[in-house]
């Protein structure tokens, strides 16, 4: 059965207001296109979770889609703080539940493997446990050691971006995974945007690359360029300059709103988004060459030539 849907239809069908959403992508394969669709459709009251966030969290907070964040790190990687997050904390309009990257990962892992908690050796000291994280001290029944119990987290929906999938919904991703697989498999519904839809045989010739099998995938959406300004290994590189530009823009709510109008609210789809970027960007990150339909592909693996 084909799981192919347009991104608009997939978000419409599977993501209600108020949903608890895992956002995939650890610097790599961040699902910006899917996040932008949430903004376009005006979702409200969402709870977002993941370990180390990207500026997509800032955009969703700035656009007014988010009621609560559950995270290990929330900022603009390597550039600075998240300005929309800061403003939302200042006004008290955002629920904040903070963990650490390891403990948020353990929460997702516990959810994925079906246990109510996992023990760990962190959150034993300092202010993170008291201020926000709902970890409990436990005593190991075998050794008597003091440990933290890290509760499971079960997102309703995972939004992830990956290199490719088949129509059935077998999703393949390689390069940095981070917590993407854990978060996706902990979630009830998985929506994947991908650079390419490939024949079944391509998936089955390299099954070790599959991170979500078809029976766990609700929808697959063909969205080339869907991870910009993050990157997709083998397809296009990271647009570091965009993260610096975004830091400047997001300091001012009016400028941020203009940015969101230009790149998100007033573009119909991903192609229009890519065309809304500054001239030269697509060439600089290599997206024009790699994602274009005529890009050369390896006959057996289906990889774009020059990939990896």
């Amino acid at each position: 059965m084909s799981k192919l849907l347009s991104l608009g239809d997939a978000i419409q069908r599977y993501v209600p207001d108020g949903a608890l959403i895992f956002i995939g992508g650890f610097g790599h394969c961040v699902p910006f296109a899917a996040g932008h669709e949430l903004i376009r459709q005006g979702r409200k009251g969402l709870t977002l979770c993941r370990t180390g966030t990207d500026i997509l969290f800032d955009q969703l907070i700035g656009a007014g889609c988010v009621a609560k964040v559950i995270f290990g790190y929330l900022g603009n990687p390597g550039v600075g703080i998240s300005h929309s997050f800061r403003r939302a904390v200042d006004t008290g309009s955002l629920g904040v539940e903070e963990w650490t990257n390891f403990t948020l990962l353990l929460r997702l892992h516990a959810g994925r493997i079906g246990v109510p908690f996992l023990p760990s050796r962190v959150l034993l000291a300092g202010d993170v446990p008291q201020a926000s994280a709902d970890a409990r001290k436990i005593t190991c029944p075998f050794t008597g050691e003091s440990l933290s119990a890290i509760p499971a987290l079960l997102p309703e929906v995972a939004l992830i971006h990956a290199q490719r999938a088949d129509e059935d919904g077998n999703v393949q991703m390689w390069g940095i995974d981070g917590d993407t697989r854990e978060g996706a498999l902990a979630s009830r519904v998985v929506i994947a945007t991908v650079e390419e839809i490939v024949p079944r045989e391509v998936i089955r010739a390299a099954p070790e690359r599959t991170i979500v099998p078809a029976h766990r995938t609700a929808a697959v959406c063909h969205v080339p360029g869907g991870a910009h300004p993050s990157y997709v290994q083998g397809y296009y590189t990271r647009d570091d300059e965009h993260f610096v530009l975004y830091d400047r823009v997001s300091r001012n709510p009016n400028e941020l709103s203009a940015y969101l109008d230009r790149h998100v609210r007033n573009v119909a789809d991903r192609e229009a988004y890519l065309n809304s970027l500054e001239p030269g960007v697509l060439e600089r990150i290599g997206i024009a060459r790699r994602v274009h339909p005529t890009a050369r592909k390896d006959a057996r693996s289906g990889d774009p030539v020059e990939a990896r």
Partner: protein
């Protein structure tokens, strides 16, 4: 001029904290630069581990994100977060390199809020992997620019535990390891009785300049001196890496 000297000193001195064949959990910014420098100079077999899952990485340029293309460009293995945090918790990582907005006299780090947690003057990024590294690495090295606002008697929020309030509290909480050294562009600090003290300054800075503006009277270790021995070759390599994070 002094700013560039301080930045170079900071990277050079942090690199010297890392020994060949060690495993090192690396953060973004000065930690990455220092680990890259160490690997290009005295520690070619240093194993760089990034929280994104890259193991034995060798970034050609300083990455902006632990998941950046530069982190995977010349790496031996891409695992996932469970692989690397699992190794960290299992005690298999020798040294963690950290930076933060604030550090205090007991080596506690703050990257969460300036001011009160519930009504902060500045909301920052939070722990990321820093709490985990500070709790679990066998040895922790802290790299900080010399900035009086960053060196306070007591941090506003303990994101990443050092020796907490001292007096063995860290051990009583069930945590091993702990901060080993704090490096700035002006000096190297170590811990005695779980409290920060100045061990050396870096030329051209005097011992007094190394603690200038700090939020408490920092003890000076007996025999503290001004170090002027950074390797010229290593300094050239540091300049070649580019002393600011880039991609």
């Amino acid at each position: 001029m002094n700013a560039q000297t301080e930045m170079e000193n900071l990277v050079l001195a942090t690199a010297l904290e890392l020994a060949d064949h060690e495993t090192c959990f690396v953060g973004i910014g000065v930690p990455s630069l220092a680990a890259m420098l160490a690997k290009r100079t005295h520690a070619p077999n240093l194993v760089l581990i990034y929280e994104s899952g890259a193991i034995d990485a060798n970034p050609p340029i300083a990455p902006l994100s632990t998941g950046s293309p530069s982190v995977t460009a010349d790496t031996a293995m891409i695992g996932d977060c469970l692989d690397v945090f699992g190794d960290l918790q299992a005690g298999r990582i020798d040294v963690g390199l950290l930076s933060a907005a604030q550090v205090d006299r007991h080596g506690n780090l703050n990257s969460t809020v300036i001011g009160d947690y519930h009504k902060p003057k500045l909301r920052m990024v939070g722990s990321g992997g820093a709490h985990d590294i500070a709790s679990l690495a066998n040895r922790v090295v802290i790299a900080m620019p010399h900035d009086p606002r960053r060196f306070v008697a007591s941090v506003d929020f303990i994101t990443s535990p050092g020796f907490l309030n001292g007096g063995g509290e860290r051990l009583r909480c069930g945590l091993r390891g702990g901060p080993h050294a704090v490096i700035t562009g002006r000096g190297r600090f170590v811990f005695a009785n779980e409290e920060l003290q100045l061990e050396r300054s870096f030329h051209p800075f005097s011992l007094a300049q190394a603690v200038e503006g700090f939020g408490w009277d920092v003890p000076v270790r007996p025999g503290a001196f001004c170090f002027n021995g950074f390797d010229d070759g290593a300094r050239m390599v540091a300049r070649g890496i580019g002393l600011s994070a880039g991609a």
